[in-house]
């Protein structure tokens, strides 16, 4: 039983994500994971203490958490600037949430569990991905803002600081949850198989694109003429 769909370089592939987008995604992923682990080490109970060795003790973890926090917030911003068009396209797509997306979301649980369902044509990002975009981005922003407040509490009003703690926790949890699902769907879930390579190599098989993102596929074809 294969875990991840095999990469097939010889078939027709079309580009899905630019280098900058992929760089943003993976740097974000790595920093998020490190942040999560250092955060868990620092702020959860001692069950996570084994991680202390990895990060050079608690103070080391604290330092790493802060360094990662900066990367976590700065890199996406830089990438947005570098790949402004892609960014705009992404969010245009996310906000073009329509009937098909709702249909997708309704049918998604069945697909998720492996039942065969007919999916209406999706744009570059399907309804689920759109939702993931919104939730993850919002969480990241809130986690980042609350994080900075916690980092420099003395310059903020105490109530805001107090609010920052549950905020950081809640959205960290939501983001982590989304990351788990997203990670699974993007790699191990057989139905989303090829999308993994889209984020790794940048291209996906054309027929997969046609099947999963019909609207986008058609548009791409049209553009290529």
């Amino acid at each position: 039983m294969e875990l991840i769909t095999k990469y097939e370089p010889d078939v027709e592939r079309i580009e899905r994500f630019s280098f900058v987008a992929r760089f943003a995604h993976w740097s974000h992923t790595i920093t998020f994971v490190i942040l999560l682990l250092t955060g868990l080490l620092l702020f959860m109970d001692s069950r996570w203490d084994f991680l202390a060795v990895v990060f050079g003790g608690y103070r080391g973890a604290g330092l790493i958490h802060r360094i990662m926090a900066v990367i976590f917030t700065v890199v996406p911003l830089v990438c947005v600037v570098l790949n402004w068009r892609g960014f705009v396209e992404w969010w245009k797509d996310v906000f073009s949430f329509g009937k098909n997306d709702i249909k997708f979301l309704l049918k998604f649980p069945l697909e998720f569990m492996g039942f065969h369902v007919d999916i209406p044509p999706q744009t570059k990002f399907n309804g689920g991905e759109k939702m993931n975009s919104v939730v993850t981005t919002t969480s990241c922003i809130l986690v980042a803002i609350s994080g900075y407040i916690m980092w420099f509490p003395s310059i903020f009003p105490p109530t805001l600081v107090r609010l920052a703690y549950p905020t950081h926790d809640i959205f960290m949890i939501i983001a982590t949850m989304m990351v788990c699902m997203h990670g699974y769907l993007g790699s191990l879930h057989p139905g989303s198989g090829e999308s993994f390579w889209g984020m790794v190599k940048g291209t996906v098989k054309a027929d997969w694109a046609e099947h999963h993102h019909k609207a986008w596929y058609d548009k791409q074809r049209e553009q290529q003429g």
């Binding site: 569990m113 509490p153 109530t159 107090r162 549950p166 949890i173 057989p190 139905g191 997969w208 999963h212």
Partner: protein
């Protein structure tokens, strides 16, 4: 072991601030010299190098001026919010009631700073840690009493078993109420479920800069009681869902392939 603590009698305090200095002497804290701002009080509140501070309050009534003094420091609460929020469990309550800190565990997150209803713990930038009064636990355990209680010239500050101190305080408040302090009150007996620093006040707590009903912020309570224990469950939930999917997808696929007799579907290879 019986709960030990301080009893501070504001009506006997002369604000000599011996306690403030004795605390620095014992805890080896440097001075924090700020310009004079028009009040005898040195700082707004405690700071990372000032674990205790005497606050000054001026009032006026028909009998003339009144000058109240109140020593502020960690209250060593029975149910300390700082201990609850401390993620590293650096803060803990010892067997005789002192809220102590294991500085090796402190990561400088400052959760305690914002959880404390009395705004006592303060962040020490140079060491990236939060500091506060220790009730001189090492002195007490070596057979002594806290530096502040030892140095107090008038006996406004006593150290002893909480129950005994409470008895003294009740007597004293009774006396004060009958002798010109109708609002005299004990502070710390019931507040926040009991404090290990008891106060005898000659007037209402607000006039001494103490909240009459100290409360841990509802945000902090929500965070501690709802978010921390329950929200985290979302993650295992997500992981469980994914795991389930991992198997069901593969199981259903295999079954489908069997039914369709090996016919392939372009997408699912």
């Amino acid at each position: 072991m019986a709960k030990m603590g301080n009893l501070y009698d504001a009506t006997k305090c002369t604000a000599c601030r011996g306690c403030q200095v004795a605390c620095k002497n014992w805890n080896q804290l440097p001075a924090v010299i700020e310009p004079f701002k028009g009040n005898y009080q040195t700082h707004e509140s405690t700071n990372a190098n000032t674990f205790t501070i005497v606050k000054f309050f001026e009032y006026d009534d028909v009998y003339g001026p009144k000058w109240y003094f109140c020593k502020h420091q960690c209250m060593h609460c029975e149910y300390p919010a700082c201990v609850d929020v401390c993620p590293r469990k650096a803060l803990y309550k010892n067997e005789w009631g002192a809220v102590l800190k294991d500085y090796q565990k402190c990561v400088g997150c400052q959760y305690c700073v914002y959880a404390c209803p009395f705004e006592i713990p303060k962040y020490h930038k140079e060491s990236d840690m939060v500091t506060k009064c220790t009730l001189c636990a090492e002195r007490v355990e070596a057979g002594g009493i806290p530096a502040c209680a030892k140095t107090c010239p008038t006996g406004a500050l006593q150290f002893g078993e909480r129950q005994e101190l409470l008895a003294i305080a009740r007597e004293r408040v009774k006396y004060l109420r009958a002798n010109g302090f109708p609002n005299a009150t004990i502070y710390g007996e019931h507040e926040l479920g009991g404090l290990n620093k008891l106060y005898i006040l000659g007037d209402v707590p607000e006039k001494y800069g103490l909240p009459s009903e100290p409360k841990v912020s509802s945000i902090t309570t929500f965070w501690q009681n709802i978010v921390q224990p329950w929200f985290g469950l979302l993650i295992p939930l997500a992981l469980a869902g994914s795991a389930a999917s991992f198997f069901t997808t593969r199981f259903l696929k295999a079954r489908r392939e069997q039914q369709e007799g090996g016919a392939t579907h372009g997408t699912h290879n």
